[in-house]
Structures are given as C-alpha cells and as structure tokens.
Symmetry: C2
Subunit: 262 residues, 2 copies
C-alpha cells in the first residue's frame, strides 16, 4: 500500500457518509494540503458514482483542516450514461472544511477528436534535472517527503532573489513509486509552492480550485507547468498543467487564491 | 429596466427558494445560454449572502434548460468576514439543471497587491472595429439581440475557412446600454461562439464553467480574449478573459466542454 492510497482511504459508515482521517503526512506550511483534502472528497465520490474517473472537480475551501478524523458526506446529483455528477463535503468537528462538486466519466472510453495545439514544458530528462529540495526538511511540510521534484534550475526565490516572473516548470512523482492516476492528479495540481513566491510573496491561501483530468497518465514522472498571470487586489489565479512522459496533457487546473496579508 | 435585469429577476417564495423564469431572450442554438442560467443562480445567492460581489462561481451543467418557469434553491454554506459561500440549484420540472457553488466578497474593499503581468487584448477602438454579426439573425439565437460584438477582422469559420487556431478577441457590451457589473460578467464569459469553431467544429456543450470576477468593471465596452489550448478525446477547455476600458482584467473563466459528436 502506498502512502497516498493509505491516506486517502475512506470507509462507508452510513448512506452517503464516509469516515476518513486527515493524515499528518501531507502537510504544507499552513496545515494539510488542499489537493490532498480534495483527493479525500473525490475518493468518497468514486465509491458512490458508477463511472471511474474524475473529469472536472471544483473545490471551495471554507476553513483550514486539521490532522485527525474527518467525515465525507456525499450526494449523487445526476447519473448519466457518459457523465455522473456528485457533491462531497469534508467535515471535521461538525464544521464544513471543503465543499466539492465533481463530474466523473470513463476516460478510457473517450472517442472524440484530439488536436495538438500546444506542447509539454521543456525540461531536461528527470535524471539530469536538479533536486532543488535535496536535504530540505521541515516538520510542518511533510508533503516534501511524499513527492519527488526535479527542476531545470534552482528558482530565484529560494536564494532570496525572486525573479519577478511567477511561473515555473518541474517534474513530479510519488517518492514511494506509486504510479499516477486521475485521483493522484487531483492532489498533484496543488502539490507545488505557489508561483507567486517569484514575486516576493511568502504564501497564499486557496479560495477555489477546479481541476480537469483530461487523460489517464502513463506511469513515471509527470511534467508540470505553473503560471500566475494576474494579481489584483491581493487575489491571484494559478494555472497548473500536468503532462505525462508520452506528451499528453493529463490534467489542467486553475485556482483562485488570496495573498497572505502582511 | 434592462433586459438583463428584467430576465435575471428572482423572487423569494420560501426559505432558500426563489421563483425565476428562464427567458427566451438569451438563447444560443442549443437553448438558453449557460452564462445566463448561471447569472440566475448568482442572482439568488446575492439575495442570501451578506457580501455583494460574486468572486468565484463554479457551475456544473446537468441537463439542457428550457424557456419557462424555474426555481432556484439556495444554501448558505459559510459566512465569513471577507468571503461568504453558498450553493444554488436551478430546477425545472423537478429536475436539476445547474448546480452552482459560489464565493462572494466585496470587490470594492480589496486592499491587497496588484501586479501587472499581462496586457489587455490588442483591438482597434470599438467604433473602428467590425460588427461581424450585422444583419445576422436566427430565431433560436436571441443572444445576438442582447449583446453587441466588435472584432478586428471577420473570423475564418464564418466564411467556411476555419483558421485552425482556436482563439479570438473582441469587444462586447449590452445592446440596450446597461452598464456591466459582476453579475453581467458571469453571463458574458459564456456569451461568445466557441473558439473551437476555428478548428472546424460546429458546436460543443459545457460540462463545467468556473468564473473568477477580479474587479468591478468600468462602464462601457469590454475587451474579451478567448483561447482553447487542448482538445483531447473530444473534450476541450476554453479560457476567457474580460478586460475593461481602463485596462483592468475584470473576469477570467475556464470551461470544460464536449465537442458535439457528429
């Protein structure tokens, strides 16, 4: 059992009600990572819906989560032949932490047109890229023990010299060798430092995150491209693409986040 | 009263229950326009939540709507000092048509940082741009009677020569002179033809649409930039930006849609 599978396990305890545990193994500086929390929601919906793959998932982050027990309450909204839609609420201590709506499909059954309009990020092969986090360890950043990252170059903000250009690309994979799948992609789109670190911001908190899973990923490393284009009144979006080693865009997300007031 | 205000009116008939009417004045070829339907949902939430402006709105389109009576059922999820979040369900004939979750804020109160990283689309002034729809009229496309559009050049697909590049930019405004506001932006991000017409597709249907309203727009024309970057297995995203005449990005959206099988 991989850490990801173990820590996203949910157990049906009543109709539309799953017991879960928010693990201490997926924390970012502010607490449990939002992508990991969303994977818990999607895992519960996978148990309820008759189609296997999350296609579109939208999460609204209402309160910080804490490590410990949680419930996921689900609702099946509509079950169609091609798309099934449901809702999940992640609850701790009777308070709602995340509200998520998701449409599922069978990504292996898509028969429509594919048009190559853009390309995967240009990165050196993973074994020639830099492990910029080698030796880095923080007690409240256990996410770094779950994922491997490789970059073409060390980002400026790490040396106190933010580039002013809030974008980056890098390789990612699970450290324990678990293969990526659509559930993992839902977590991975939120598994990097915010691009706004390159404009000198220390952190930001997610208001809303929507991820589109576009294909089942091939095994191995995944290439990520992240960019923030608009910072307005403290709010910024962050666009995230994940490409597999076969050159397929497998997931795309956007989140709206608020710079932490200083 | 403008057509938009008139046709997005909702009436409280019970707790968390609003009566609405889906007007025949906002139809696209497939029926009532998705952006208009979402504005109905947001209008009901505006009545329930203590903050005035939609900030992030996610809609899942479950079934086609029809012209005629509808209900909007709402739920207040969380009311914070800075952000309030609610859910709306648009219902016709006891069937749910749209599920929407939205966070509201007061966009006039934002005090955080603004960083100019990108620019508004390059367009000729509206009075020098082309009204490519002049004289175009379809009984089932009443949306064209509600909005004015101006483009730099006539798009290739209109003459049966799709460019192969699914992007466009254009000016938009309400034909009756109503000033834009955050509610209008929610509708406008879905008020154009799909960019995939430029790759020879006749149409597509929206699965999910998320819009971020980033600022209250200045009065007057709005400049839109639309692009589809990935068409995979028949699904494509469409990114939509709206800029006001003062050069502020006022709304940004992404939708996931499915090309209509042929």
């Amino acid at each position: 059992m991989s850490a990801f599978d173990d820590d996203t396990r949910v157990e049906a305890v009543a109709a539309n009600h799953f017991a879960a545990a928010v693990s201490d193994r997926w924390t970012a500086l502010g607490g449990p990572n939002g992508g990991y929390l969303l994977a818990l929601c999607v895992q519960a919906l996978r148990c309820e819906l008759p189609l296997p793959d999350p296609l579109a998932v939208s999460a609204y982050y209402l309160r910080p989560a804490t490590v410990g027990p949680a419930a996921v309450k689900t609702e099946v909204i509509r079950t169609g032949r091609r798309i099934a839609t449901g809702e999940a609420r992640l609850i701790q201590d009777d308070r709602e932490i995340v509200r998520a709506v998701a449409s599922f499909t069978d990504l292996a059954s898509l028969t429509g047109r594919t048009v190559a309009l853009t390309e995967a990020p240009k990165l050196p092969p993973p074994d020639e890229a830099i492990d910029v986090l080698a030796g880095v360890s923080f007690a409240n950043l256990t996410l770094l023990d779950r994922y491997d990252y490789r970059m073409a170059a060390r980002p400026g903000w790490m040396d106190g010299r933010p580039s002013g250009d809030p974008r980056m690309s890098f390789w990612i994979r699970f450290k324990d060798g678990r293969a990526p799948d659509p559930l993992a992609l839902v977590a991975m789109v939120d598994a990097a430092y915010p691009a706004v670190l390159e404009i000198g911001e220390p952190t930001s908190s997610t208001v809303e995150l929507t991820v589109h899973v576009r294909a089942r990923p091939a095994p191995g490393w995944l290439a990520c491209r992240v960019i923030t284009r608009h910072v307005i009144g403290g709010y910024h979006e962050e666009d995230f693409e994940i490409w597999d080693t076969e050159g397929t865009l497998v997931a795309q997300s956007r989140q709206l986040a608020l710079l932490t007031p200083r």
